[in-house]
């Protein structure tokens, strides 16, 4: 118990888990017994969740959004990896620099030009998401590449590797696990943008559209229910990424502080 309030302590798993459960329980109790004036009650949210799942196809919509999200993060990752690895060549550095700065662009109005460039609503949706994710991914990935130390490079060179080979071993392969971490952190961007793109092109549905409709009629219980579902999805997704990293890069935790 004492460990819970000691700096840098590692409490036992059981103790830690019970603490988390207790915290969540207290939050739920507060919600149940001290309802705010306008915030929907726990019961309302659950009822609404039930009806959303049973009648309004919440699961289908979630899956539709999920596939769109996965599709765009996959393409964005490939693009971003390409752009950031290419920074090794001075010729490509301005491109990466520009890409990172495009984070500051707002999407309003840009969607019109994207619509002109591609051929269907679905592609506009994808291109908006890919654009949004890529600029953040490139930013994260280039900063990972910049953590490459002189020592690491020199180590590879002393092993007789050519400059290309050294780059491949140290930067490309050596940083892959951290790249995965960058993707995990920035996947959330896609989810925050998905409501925007799904309301732009409503033909394909999606959980963002469902959320928008609930909000349009001020069904606040439905809004909270859907937000919670998105939150849970995000948590699950994070967990899957951690799992992937453990499976594919079992040694990447060696350097972490205990």
């Amino acid at each position: 118990m004492k460990t819970l309030f000691t700096p840098n302590a590692n409490p036992q798993r059981l103790v830690f888990m019970s603490m988390v459960a207790a915290q969540a329980f207290v939050l739920l109790l507060l919600w149940m017994f001290y309802p705010l004036q306008l915030f929907p009650s726990l019961g309302d949210v659950f009822r609404s969740l039930g009806s959303l799942i049973a009648d309004q196809g919440l699961i289908q919509e979630l899956w539709a959004s999920m596939t769109t999200a996965l599709q765009s993060i996959a393409i964005a990752t490939v693009l971003a990896l390409l752009i950031s690895y290419l920074t090794a060549l001075p010729f490509f550095r301005p491109i990466a620099y520009a890409a990172t700065k495009m984070r500051y662009l707002t999407l309003t109005g840009l969607t019109f030009f994207m619509a002109l460039m591609v051929s269907s609503g679905h592609e506009v949706k994808l291109s908006v998401l890919i654009f949004g994710a890529t600029v953040y991914l490139v930013t994260g990935m280039t900063s990972v590449i910049l953590t490459t130390t002189q020592e690491e490079m020199d180590h590879a060179r002393t092993l007789g590797m050519s400059e290309w080979r050294a780059f491949y071993e140290v930067v490309v392969l050596g940083k892959l696990d951290e790249m995965l971490e960058v993707v995990r952190q920035n996947f959330a961007i896609i989810w925050t943008m998905i409501t925007l793109v799904e309301t732009l092109y409503q033909s394909e549905g999606g959980i963002g559209l469902l959320l928008y409709k609930q909000n349009r009629y001020l069904h606040l219980d439905g809004v909270v229910a859907i937000q919670l579902v998105i939150l849970a999805t995000g948590a699950l997704q994070d967990y899957v990424f951690v799992l992937l990293r453990r499976v594919f890069f079992p040694y990447s935790w060696l350097g972490a502080a205990k």
């Binding site: 306008l38 799942i53 409503q202 009629y217 001020l218």
Partner: protein
């Protein structure tokens, strides 16, 4: 296991998982989404407005309001969209904040007019205002202006207001209405043959006034509509959702296809198909953009035809309304005075347009812009087609008596509009709008009646009336639809069940205030042709009389015309009883 092995295994797992879930979800084995059937709406009828005093009373030009803020009076905030129906309110206030010499100042008010185009923000502000008023009754009241036919959907805010201990309340006064600027645009062939719109798609901001115009047109023409914006029904009119009325126009201009699942008879076929926007429901400047950037669409129908659909309705919280009856009366009086000025004197209208420009705050749109589109203009589009753009009207006091049915022989036009569109939205979107607030709970005409008594015997400017020439036939029909109005066999008396149909027809016709109504009577072929001819005339006349009796203001002389066809125009075979029943019908044609 080697890394390569892991990758192969991982990829395999991912693929299996993806297709597994996909199969499961699309099979509908887990929680099926309720399928939406396309709906044939009962014809949507809107009131016509006429009546009022025939006396020609000229209101003298009053001094125009000053430019200096008055800075005294009861504080109140008025949230408005950039909408020309508010000209009278603009002049009444003299500026974004009540100015010296304005009629608001004369009535003891200090009003701040704020532009707010976002409806959900308006709803949130009302709830916030209700809470603030609860904590501090001195908080300035908040009034928001919305489109009259959109109020049923807007009333979704009622539940939140109730949690805040109050409810929604309508000010029994409207400062004006849309008169042409909200419209359905489509290919020219839809005008001549409305059925050609079946299987086509209309882009619009869903569940609001623009879509209502399209829905009414479909209903009046007996076209089914598909309420689900994620499916495509080739036998109905489909809708493509846009995030606002300008994006709706953009969908048509850009013309990108969107992918949907095809449904047939309400059954999901699982087949994907691409749809593009064939028509658009929008308002100014969405219509201007279409005309200038792409062209090819003409006005199918607008609020000039459905002239009672979109009055500007002001709502507030009951908490403020009950505690500030004097201020509410003051606002009504101020707007009534300004309404007469705007309607009669070009100087006053010009000034109101300049104030509008200051309130709406678009740098590229000076007073002249708002003035031009208040009056409405005809321009040619890129392809040389003439398109009518813009159009609004300001109300005076007498117009309001007509709108709320307090003039002689009047009917509460707004009540018809509210119920008509509330029912439509509820029927199409039962999940999102399971019910809407009954109008009686929000509207109390006491204050308007009091003002009416106060003005009794005094000369007030007349309401604007629509005149219909008795022998003027419909030249351009807007809609045609058969009504299932049943008569007792061989007689022109209505069966009791028909009463409900007639009420609906009445409400529907009231919304389309400016359109002429042609009632076509038909019979089956049983009996003597001469007698059938007479019978069909009697039946059509019965409908006309019923309408005119119910409201002489909505159906003035000359609006309804009667045509008798006997058994000469059957729509089904007279060989079967079912066919004969179909042939005994009354058709209603609306047009200019």
């Amino acid at each position: 296991m080697t890394t390569r092995g892991k990758i192969v295994l991982g990829a395999l797992l991912a693929v299996l998982l993806y297709f597994g879930i996909n199969k499961l979800v699309s099979s509908g084995a887990v929680f099926k989404k309720a399928e939406a059937q396309s709906v044939l709406l009962n014809s949507i009828e809107l009131p016509t407005a006429t009546g009022g005093s025939r006396a020609n009373i000229a209101v003298p030009l009053a001094p125009l309001p000053g430019a200096t803020p008055a800075e005294k009076g009861a504080p109140v905030v008025w949230e408005v969209m950039a909408w020309n129906s508010q000209m009278a309110g603009m002049l009444a206030n003299g500026g974004p904040r009540t100015t010296q010499g304005s009629s608001m100042a004369a009535n003891g008010l200090d009003m701040q007019i704020v532009r707010q185009d976002d409806v959900s923000k308006m709803q949130a502000d009302l709830v916030k205002n209700a809470l603030d008023l609860q904590n501090n009754p001195e908080t300035p009241g908040l009034i928001v202006s919305i489109m009259g036919d959109g109020l049923p959907a807007f009333s979704a805010v009622q539940m939140q207001l109730q949690k805040a201990g109050t409810s929604l309340q309508i000010l029994p006064y409207s400062c004006g209405k849309s008169f042409g600027e909200d419209k359905l645009m489509g290919p020219k062939e839809w005008l001549d043959n409305p059925k050609s719109a079946l299987g086509k798609t209309i882009a619009c901001y869903l569940r609001d006034g623009d879509q209502n115009i399209a829905l009414k047109w479909c209903a009046d023409n007996g076209l089914k509509v598909n309420p689900d914006e994620t499916t495509y029904d080739p036998e109905a009119v489909n809708f493509m959702a846009a995030s606002d009325f300008l994006v709706a126009a953009e969908k048509y201009i850009v013309g990108k296809p969107e992918s949907r699942t095809k449904v047939v008879n309400g059954k999901n076929t699982g087949v994907k198909t691409d749809v593009v926007a064939d028509g658009v429901a929008t308002w100014t400047p969405g219509d201007v953009n279409i005309a200038k950037q792409k062209g090819g669409l003409v006005n199918i129908v607008s609020t000039k035809d459905y002239s009672n659909q979109m009055p500007n309705i002001m709502v507030t919280t009951k908490r403020w309304y009950d505690a500030h009856q004097k201020e509410v009366t003051g606002i009504m009086t101020a707007m009534a005075v300004a309404g007469d000025q705007v309607k009669t004197h070009p100087e006053a209208l010009q000034r109101a347009a300049d104030i509008s420009a200051a309130v709406y705050g678009d740098q590229d749109k000076p007073g002249a812009y708002w003035l031009k589109y208040y009056k409405g203009v005809s321009e040619t589009d890129r392809n040389g087609e003439v398109v009518e753009l813009g159009g609004s009207k300001a109300f005076n006091f007498a117009d309001n008596l007509t709108l709320f049915g307090l003039d002689n022989g009047g009917t509460n036009i707004y009540a018809s509009v509210y119920k008509t569109f509330g029912d439509v939205q509820k029927r199409l979107y039962p999940k999102e709008l399971p019910s809407y607030v009954p109008l009686d709970e929000m509207l109390d005409l006491d204050l308007l009646r009091k003002l009416q008594t106060q003005y009794k015997g005094k000369a007030i400017a007349p309401a604007e009336t629509q005149k219909f020439a008795a022998d003027d036939e419909i030249r351009q029909s807007v809609s045609k639809r058969a009504w299932n109005i049943e008569f007792e066999t061989g007689k022109s008396a209505f069966t009791p069940e028909t009463q409900r149909q007639l009420n609906q027809l009445f409400d529907d016709l009231v919304v389309a205030g400016r359109l002429k109504v042609a009632v076509h009577g038909h019979t089956d072929n049983v009996g003597d042709p001469q007698r059938n001819q007479q019978l069909s005339e009697d039946r059509a006349l019965a409908v006309e009389h019923w309408l005119e009796q119910k409201s002489s203001s909505a159906f003035p002389d000359g609006r309804v015309q009667v045509y008798a066809h006997g058994a000469t125009e059957p729509v089904a075979s007279n060989a079967s009883p079912k066919g004969r029943a179909q042939n005994r019908r009354v058709e209603i044609v609306l047009g200019n």
